[in-house]
């Protein structure tokens, strides 16, 4: 996630990556099971666990449940996710935990993507024609599974016009589909994306229309700047200024989560 490129300067005292990690950490509720991907989403989960959600459980699609994470992993299969867990299983068990109707309801998934549409549907597969793509990305990985199964998801994005699009080039992972009832019509479980956290601010989804709106700008960033980087209209009327990271949040993120700044840079 190239979140520090082509973006306004962060205010003194913290970087935009730190702001993003902390904004995401604040979304995690105590007691939740947190599905983590690689990179900043791992830091968000680690920060939440150390700050506001001590009873949350960090959990990886590779099968690790409640990893200790003494060092930050660089992939979800990093041996660092395997140490001191409650259980080391495999992919089959991990995804079943999310599809399971009892445990799945407790899971929050953190995802990233190459493109997002106004309903929070994601593309992490290809830009251009699928059969001869202009840019090929990694593909779904577990993203489609998580987005299909779990109760709520948070999405990390780099905020650029070409990434916030009306129409995805490839539909990898389901968000709210086409609005209210969209998931149910397809046969998907309820639940869906709750927040999109970018290097500029935080977007949420309207309860009625399930369309993305601007919920918060980071300090020093205006709604207009955000609209300019978005390929569709964002309702700005509910936008607040996102509280900057507190000293405690920063301290914990830097000292406990990524002291080597492997992810924070």
């Amino acid at each position: 996630m190239n979140s520090d490129r082509k973006t306004p300067e962060a205010p003194a005292g913290y970087t935009l990556k730190e702001m993003m990690a902390i904004a995401a950490a604040r979304e995690i509720r105590d007691g939740e099971i947190v599905f983590c991907g690689t990179g900043i989403s791992m830091l968000a989960a680690m920060a939440a666990k150390n700050i506001s959600a001590p009873h949350s459980t960090i959990f990886f699609e590779t099968g690790a449940i409640d990893s200790l994470l003494e060092e930050v992993p660089l992939a979800v299969a990093d041996p660092r996710v395997m140490y001191g867990t409650a259980l080391n299983g495999g992919l089959a068990e991990a995804f079943a935990t999310m599809q399971n109707q009892f445990t799945g309801k407790k899971v929050i998934g953190i995802l990233g993507a190459a493109q997002i549409d106004p309903y929070g549907n994601l593309n992490s597969t290809a830009i251009g024609d699928y059969h001869r793509p202009q840019t090929r990305f990694s593909g779904s990985g577990g993203a489609c599974d998580v987005a299909s199964f779990v109760n709520r998801t948070i999405i990390f994005m780099q905020h650029e016009k070409r990434k916030f699009v009306e129409q995805l080039d490839y539909f990898t992972s389901p968000g709210w589909i086409d609005g209210p009832g969209g998931r149910e019509r397809l046969g998907l479980p309820p639940g869906g994306p709750e927040a999109v956290i970018t290097n500029l601010g935080i977007m949420r989804f309207d309860e009625q229309s399930k369309k993305m709106y601007l919920a918060a700008c980071y300090p020093g960033i205006s709604p207009e700047e955000i609209q300019e980087q978005t390929g569709f209209k964002l309702d700005p009327t509910r936008a607040i200024v996102c509280p900057p990271p507190t000293a405690t949040e920063l301290e914990i993120l830097r000292r406990r989560c990524d002291p080597q700044r492997l992810i924070l840079g």
Partner: protein, 333 residues
């Protein structure tokens, strides 16, 4: 040959690959991104210049990218082609897809896992709620016609079904994913015995399902253990000799990916690999000099820097190399 409990399946890597992997084989390899990929076997496949492989992968990462980069692969069914922070999208894979050299069929990680599980269970499909409404369901990498003409491909990429039990289980509709039964699966494990019983430490990923789904199974292992060793704690074994065709002893057999409890991944190798892979000329010389020229795994190993390997040796408590310097200049993105 399989169900003979006192029949040794020990062999060498060149022999196992020569005998069981042929041009056009349908192959799957174990591991996940930067962990427990059967890299020594991958490099031997490259050395033996196998061609036209049909590869099945969930997120096997490094091994897949090297097979693709060396031109061994014609078709790839995959969920995720990346190696985490080292290459969010595998470089040679990306290049091969964008240039049209490699045909890809996309699935999700769970779908691929279920496809191996279906193969292991002996059923033609398994159901999931994942993928409904997405292009994974509707956009096919292999055309309908191609599927009809090839009896080693199911005629549909995926299928949907209305729940015959009404709304039982809260799901009115499901996706059915077709089973995979590869010609060969290759996995790398920490411990095996000469009969082909195996024990994996750390996460198992989808190795067990991949192993049981295959017509032929090659197990490469860090340590060969005594005949009765694994039988003393059979709860800890994941694969029995019933499924195994070849056992090869290969210390550092997952290198440069990690092998939990034995060694860590090599950040320098993986970073350099990504940078090298971006440059065609550099990549060809990497392939020739680092992979093909050494006559086997042991020659390949001998060319690695001893001190660097030593730094990767796992701490016995945590299973990885504590405090390993994993930051390089290339890390920023």
């Amino acid at each position: 040959m399989k169900p003979q409990s006192d029949h040794s399946r020990l062999t060498t890597l060149p022999e196992a690959i020569a005998e069981l992997v042929t041009d056009g084989s349908h192959l799957s390899i174990g591991g996940f991104t930067i962990n427990r990929n059967p890299m020594a076997a991958v490099y031997e496949i490259i050395r033996q210049q196998k061609r036209e492989l049909h590869l099945y992968a969930h997120s096997n990462g490094q091994g897949i990218d090297e097979l693709v980069g060396a031109g061994c692969v014609r078709r790839l069914e995959i969920a995720y082609a990346g190696t985490g922070r080292f290459a969010p999208t595998c470089v040679r894979f990306r290049q091969a897809v964008e240039s049209g050299e490699l045909q890809v069929e996309d699935y999700s990680n769970y779908q691929m896992t279920l496809r191996f599980l279906a193969g292991a269970m002996g059923v033609p499909f398994l159901p999931t709620r994942s993928g409904l409404g997405t292009d994974i369901l509707t956009k096919w990498g292999f055309s309908r016609k191609e599927r009809q003409q090839d009896d080693r491909l199911p005629e549909h990429k995926l299928a949907t079904i209305d729940n015959p039990f009404g709304d039982w289980g809260g799901a009115g509709k499901l996706i059915l994913v077709p089973a995979i039964n590869p010609d060969v699966t290759i996995i790398h494990v920490q411990e095996a015995d000469r009969f082909g019983n195996a024990r994996i430490a750390g996460l198992t990923f989808a190795d067990i399902e991949q192993a049981k789904a295959a017509r032929n199974l090659i197990i490469t292992c860090e340590r060969l253990v005594d005949d009765d060793f694994l039988r003393r704690e059979p709860e800890r074994n994941q694969i029995s000799f019933l499924h195994t065709d070849a056992v090869v002893v290969l210390p550092w057999g997952a290198y440069p990916t990690a092998c939990y409890g034995v060694y860590d991944y090599d950040p320098d190798y993986l970073h350099r690999y990504r940078e090298t892979a971006r440059n065609e000329k550099a990549y060809q010389s990497y392939l020739q000099e680092k992979i093909i020229t050494p006559e086997d795994h042991f020659a390949f190993l001998a060319r690695q820097d001893k001190a660097r390997l030593q730094r990767l040796v796992a701490d016995p408590e945590t299973g990885y190399a504590r405090g390993l310097d994993r930051k390089t200049q290339e890390m920023t993105p």
